[in-house]
Amino acid sequence: MIADTMKTAPRTSPGLPRQLRASRLARNGSLAGWAFAAPALIVYLAFLVYPALTSLSLSFTSWNGISPAKTYVGFQNYVNLVHDSVVQTAARNNLIWALVTIAVPMALGLALAMAVNTRVYLRSLIRTVLYMPAVLPLVGVGTIWGWLYQPAGVINNLLTDVGLGSVTHAWLGDSTTAIWAITVPAIWVRTGFPMLLYLAALQGIPAEYYEAARTDGASAWQRFRHITFPSLRATHYIVLALSLIDTAKVFDLVYAMTDGGPGNSTQVMGTWMYFNVFQSYNFGYGTAIAVVITLVAVIVGIPYVRSQARQLV
């Protein structure tokens, strides 16, 4: 409510001469501005920017994390990376992850939002339940689903019960199904967010549009195609941008459910970096992997960052 009042409040002060305002601002100067900004900036520079640049420089060494000498090896880590078959698997898995855990939650989220947006009872309770998985720690989600996926677990038992006994499978133990099996809990977790955003956007579409279309004899599909879907363009963009940024960060579910196995078949860039650094002590090589994921994530994210920054300045 406060925000609403503010939005409608007049922009310029009628009582105060422009000159005076300007001079006061100048006198308070940019000193206060920097004093307010400094604490957060120092923390950010010291623990995000500086470590990121340090990682970049470590990625050109063969450091093992312990020895005082950090031998410069040029681009050797990056050359090795291209020839590392696990990196190829990991890159493929990151791509599968991006496609599946963005497209499916967006489509499901939109469908659920449209269903919840009709005339129903218990709307907020239903919305609360559908978003619930998103607040759980991913380790918890992975532990639950790892148990459901057990060879004699709930999922296989249910398949047998409905006569699909031939489909039962060691879902996480088979390298051909494991990464796909991990995307299912990811979809479970990630559907709530687009649902909430789509629901908020749907509630903003004027009902008159639909009434007019109905009067003109538009079918349900035509109404969706020409009114609903185009009205959600801004939401599609935001959901897509935030999901793309998030997808490079995949780690927890894979680590909790398969630990990268069987036979490295479910490694993603994040877990493979972790294994190289903290289990094989290849700090140089591990940071090179981190540099690659980060570059991809930042480049993909820049259009979104720019659009946000433009709106805020």
Partner: protein, 291 residues
């Protein structure tokens, strides 16, 4: 109603009945979907209260034929969840207010104060939204090793603060920009210092958005895995995700106890979600739709 033969009313009443039954049908379908969606957690609860014999006889997806809390007791003793709750609680209680306050100071500066390089600072800060924490873990690990903060929950604080800032600054800058200049300007004319204006006027005005940001930040902090995994090692210093990972490895056959342990670990966040979901929902929609 049929006793009064007025066709129009009858028609209206029937239309209303039809609408109502349509809404009921839609509700029924959505409730089924919601139950299906919640089923992993419901099965977890159902299994956690079963005796081992009941589980062996009827499996996980049947309704419990028995009711026991022994699984929770066993899981609690092995999982050391009490310690993990204290650790996660401490770090969340310190990190969230500190992070939100630092972010608010910066966001206020960017939104309302005179500062050069405003554009560049904002861009650099928001770029952090895209940066995976993997890029920082190795140097953070070596930095903290030098000062002896490895395997200490307070070692989590600096990276958590730094990586939390971009999102907080994004939301708060957007909100502060909408505060009318007049509010701040008139306080300046009354001789209030910049810090006093911020603390006494801007922060109280922004309470709802501050709570929203804090709640979202608390969920992220409580659930964080990568940094905790890298920095913490001894059992007494585990956070909730680490305790759960460790617990999972110890109960590979006793499924009712495994489920009880998972449930214990998830309980605080589920309860908190029940109470705070309105802030979460409004925060996510506000943050994203506005942007």
């Amino acid at each position: 109603m049929t006793a009064i033969p007025v066709p129009r009313t009858d028609y209206a009443a029937r239309a209303q009945t039809r609408r109502r039954s349509k809404a009921l049908a839609a509700t029924a379908v959505l409730v089924l979907i919601a139950v299906f969606w919640a089923s992993p957690v419901l099965i977890l609860v159902g299994t956690a209260v079963k005796t081992a014999a009941d589980f062996d006889a009827h499996g996980a997806s049947s309704l419990p034929h028995s009711l026991t809390f022994a699984n929770f007791k066993a899981a609690w003793n092995v999982g050391q969840f009490g310690t993990a709750f204290v650790n996660s609680g401490l770090i969340t209680l310190v990190k969230v207010p500190t992070g939100v306050f630092l972010a608010a100071l910066l966001a206020y500066s960017l939104a309302k104060l005179k500062i050069n390089l405003r554009r560049s600072i904002l861009f650099l800060m928001l770029l952090g939204l895209t940066v995976p924490i993997f890029i920082a873990v190795v140097p953070v690990f070596t930095m903290l090793r030098q000062v002896g903060l490895i395997d200490n929950i307070w070692g989590l604080l600096p990276p958590y603060l730094a990586f939390g800032l971009p999102f907080e600054v994004l939301i708060l800058t957007g909100f502060f920009k909408r505060i009318p200049h007049e509010v701040i300007e008139s306080a300046r004319i009354d001789g209030a210092s910049e810090l006093n204006i911020f603390l006494r006027i801007v922060l109280p005005l922004s309470l709802p958005v501050l709570i929203t940001v804090a709640v979202l930040d608390a969920v992220a902090t409580w659930n964080e895995l990568v940094v905790a995994l890298v920095l913490l090692s001894s059992p007494g210093h585990r956070t909730v995700p680490l305790a759960l990972l460790n617990f999972q490895g110890q109960f590979t056959t006793d499924f009712p106890a495994l489920c009880a342990g998972i449930l214990i670990a998830l309980l605080p966040i589920l309860v908190a979600y029940g109470f705070l979901q309105r802030w979460i929902v409004s925060g996510l929609t506000a943050g994203a739709v506005k942007g």
